[in-house]
Symmetry: C2
Subunit: 269 residues, 2 copies
């Protein structure tokens, strides 16, 4: 299998969330030869959308995704998702990543939460289509079903895509899907609907359900095997490194993190 193409590496800014502003992350990417960036909206708000757009452009980066829309359990979900679509449009982002939200407060009805996700996406989809912003449903690991996303398998995300039609696809993050016995079949089914491919690693032991992701190569995920599946399905887009790591990578110097991301991308991704 050919090595990962360095031109396709992108930095999800969550990877340096604690140590860098968005401006620093943009400059860091440029300094380390990383051609893509995927910002989070809290950092975008800090910098200001227009400043972000011009800084990203002046450094010649592409925006491989905007994190995030979704969270349909929030009170202001509709307005918030509209703003997210506008921001993704302004950034010329490849997609808006949807983390769909878990169970509403006080509810145990996962089936209903899942139906609601489809209704909510169908409400924002016309605006997303008009803005030319593809929506990428990201299935999250089942351990995050209650509090972050009730879409937990690629199969489920693709069923939503089937129901919703054009303008909706999926983001495949190895961390969320590596355990899935149906992964190969569902990646093949996804085909051209794969809008993003995210990498990091599953650590053994994992000490936190959200913030203990590993650097590529430090865990047990066979990342090249999953990349092979995704590419066999026709995906030729960017590969985002997205590492939430409160006790390790978030505590290190940002340049050290980017050096490591770049090196590991070349060798174990």
């Amino acid at each position: 299998m050919p090595p990962a193409d360095p031109q396709r590496l992108s930095l999800n800014t969550a990877t340096v969330k604690q140590q860098w502003t968005l401006a620093q992350a943009i400059e860091g990417c440029a300094r380390h030869g990383i051609r893509g960036i995927a910002p989070w909206r809290d950092k975008l708000a800090e910098l200001g959308l227009q400043k972000a757009v011009s800084l990203i452009r002046s450094h010649g980066l592409s925006v491989t995704g905007l994190c995030r829309g979704g969270f349909f359990t929030a009170k202001d979900w509709l307005d918030d998702n509209r703003r997210a679509i506008e921001e993704a449009h302004a950034l010329e982002a490849d997609c808006l990543v949807l983390v769909v939200g878990g169970l509403p407060a006080g509810s145990k009805d996962l089936g209903h939460a899942r139906e609601r996700v489809q209704e909510c996406i169908s409400k924002i989809l016309p605006e997303a289509r008009q803005a030319g912003v593809p929506l990428a449903i990201e299935p999250l690991h089942p351990m995050q079903a209650a509090d972050r996303a009730c879409v937990n398998t690629l199969e489920q995300a693709l069923d939503l895509c089937d129901a919703l039609g054009e303008g909706v696809g999926v983001a495949v993050d190895v961390y969320h899907v590596w355990w899935d016995p149906n992964l190969a079949a569902q990646v093949a089914r996804a085909g051209s609907r794969i809008l993003g491919f995210h990498v990091c690693d599953w650590l053994v032991p994992t000490t936190d359900l959200l913030l203990d992701r590993g650097m590529m190569g430090d865990g047990v995920i066979d990342i090249p095997a999953i990349r092979r599946l995704v590419e066999a399905a026709g995906y030729t887009g960017p590969c985002e490194a997205e590492i939430f790591s409160k006790d390790n990578w978030w505590k290190r110097d940002g340049d050290e993190v980017l050096r490591t991301v770049t090196a590991r991308y070349a060798t174990v991704t």
Copy 2:
């Protein structure tokens, strides 16, 4: 839906693992009117098999399962599983629960680990059949795929049952399966192969991937809905309370735990 039948409640001894010996757990069950018990083998070894058998019988308890066989990644897996089958036979346990093991040390090949599970079960199955000990494959939550069990969905466990034939079924633990979008269909498919039904709850937030399970009613799992599925599939067997809880229930008095289990079983299970 009719309330849970008190006669069907069973105590998985992991629930009082830190505070009680097996002898204390047996006496505790008798004291609290719990008719079934599911011991773990470390506690069984401490007490001694024959003593355990006679103490369980003298208190009129039934053994709803023995925990655990499996862990096919261990060096001595074959001998260990043979001993487990003998112990389950001596205890007249309803089944031997298989926690199949995760990835072998140094491996990232989940597919191979999964194939190996089938091979290993097929090796112990003749002895299990001869001993009259049904083997219950327990799919574990995907967050435990690397280190405890590479069988992570009911669908996968049932595919193994299909391949292995008579003498193998599944244990359905709400904690491991509640998130599964295919749960209803797979429980129906399981039918008479459901050998055990385990309850506890999923806490929000969950602070540990293994030892932070909740008491029934303290989390977000719709336990009655899953019991309904299991019973609609024809299951009329015991309902085991199995709560690993290092920072809460394991720190409380055993009688308080059993009182709570019994009360919650009656109201939220």
